[in-house]
Amino acid sequence: MLVHSRSGRWAVWTVFFVLFLPLFALPFAVIALASFATHWSGAFPSGATLTHYQDITRGESLDALTTSLVTALAASVLALVVGGWAALAADALRGRGRRLLDALFMLPVAVPSVVVGLSLLVAFSKPPLLLNGTRGIVVLAHTVLVTAFAYQSVAAAVARLDPAYEQSAASLGARPAYVLWRVKLPLLLPSLTAAAGLCFALSMGELSATMMLYPPDWLPLPVKIFGATDRGSLFSGAALAVVLMVTTLVVLLGVSRIRTRAAYR
């Protein structure tokens, strides 16, 4: 927004801080503070400690972090492959077929994730496809939920891609597969990594569908956090939440570095 007068700029900054600080920044600060505390009865927490973090470095909590990372990684890679492929294929479609495909990939976004979890549970609880109680069903649920986002961001990038690149490549004798690998995918790389980061972040924080599906040996971090706070262990839950937040941010930052290096124009 362009505000030219000095007083106007002050007003905008004031509104920004009044709205931003309480709504966005303070809750995170509270979580961070709580993760170092043993009591919180007054205005500020008391009993500074690192115990909660020390607990995390061993046993179940570390397993939960690994579980979350593996699940998010697998789900975003699968979502990128499926969603990206669909987006590239959808580019050739026109009219009704295109709208149908778009609507199909909108479905997991439009449907509450609890419903997605429930439907997967019901669908895969009987042979021949008995996935209930396996780790695979968690990855599957996450994949279903995030593929929509992968599809949409890649489809938007594909639509912006100048067809002249593809056509020039074809005129130079490049087969369609060669054009895909050497021209289209490299040009789409920034969008692909952005989509991957989005999928990863969404999957790291997924709770509601996971709650209905997770087997005892595959317990992602958000479920663990929910369990801890549900038991009343608010401060160790806060420490877990900080770990989840920081891990996700670190991965996103890493992904965004790939993106800037791959941005050509």
Binding site: D162, A164, Y165, Q167, S168, A169, A170, S171, L172, G173, A174, R175, P176, Y178, R182, V183, P186, L187, A262, Y264, R265
Partner: protein, 382 residues
Amino acid sequence: MSTEPGGPEAVPTSRAVRSGIRFDHVSVTYGDLTVLDALDLTVEPGEVLALLGPSGSGKTTALRAVAGFVRPSGGRVLIGGQDVTDLPPHRRGIGMVVQQYALFPHLRVDQNVAFGLKAQRTPRAAIPGRVAEALEMTGMAGYARRYPRELSGGQQQRVAIARALAIRPGVLLLDEPLSALDAQLRSGMLAELARLHRELPDVSILYVTHDQIEALTLADRIAVMDKARLQDCGTPQDLYRRPRTEFTASFVGSANLLPVRVAGEGALHFGDAVVRAAELPKGAVEGAEATMCVRPHALRLAAAGAAGGAANSLRGTVTGVQWRGSTHRLLVDAGGHEIRADVGDLRQPPAVGATVTLAFDPEDTVLLPAGVGTERPLLERV
């Protein structure tokens, strides 16, 4: 594909280079809209043929039909005598350069030029030599390690041409290759293209442009397109001096089109004025309507009543004066028709509203039967 021993995956470079393009009654329609109407046209091996026309005339569609990016709804496209209508673009053995260059932004200049060679599985050892050769030919040898974004528009266009030439195509398709460049660069690139053509005597070049200067400068023959149809085709001099349709006359050299009526003894009536043409069309009977084409620069200002000799003269009122540096363009209303005249830089140009006399020689006129070119497409001139 009987010439390919390796079956459908054989590399295009393994076959003999095919040159020459033939449009055999090629039509392209989108729904009810005909964008190319039964085009019959041949580009000989080694020839530069310019497809000239305004936007929407079907010229780019014709080029894209050769490249394989649009599918004709009727007719056949032949490259080097082979029917390629059903071949995908990557099997056609063409080189193509488009207006926006379309260099691959993630590849260096040398990688861009090598792209086609790698895609066609040219032996790895031969690629650097071919890349260097193509860059040398376009004067871009010093820029091999740069990325496209580090080059100016003219340099990018040279790289795009080098990329198309590296695969040694028999047919080169140029789609408005200079229209993104400024005027000075454009004339330089025109000279470059003419030189490239001399160095590549076997390559057929199809050059799509809306710019008559480019077409007149570069082409061996010009095909004039309008409203999805081929209007006229011939050598540049031919089209310029003896246009066969009103559209050609006005589009190539922007001639004045004067409606005239044939009177007795070779005289023509333009309103009340009597003018003469170098020759009358065959079978022109007295009273027949015709169109007289006169180029703006064939007109000159004359003192009132003193056009001199056998020259035609028209009296009219000046409605506009534009100074164009070396010439003045006068807009003159003569008998209700606006006539454009390009006269040499005048010390004292006539004022708007002044009455002037424009003189022109019968030898500088072309007479067309009225309405030719607006009804039916003309076939290619032999």
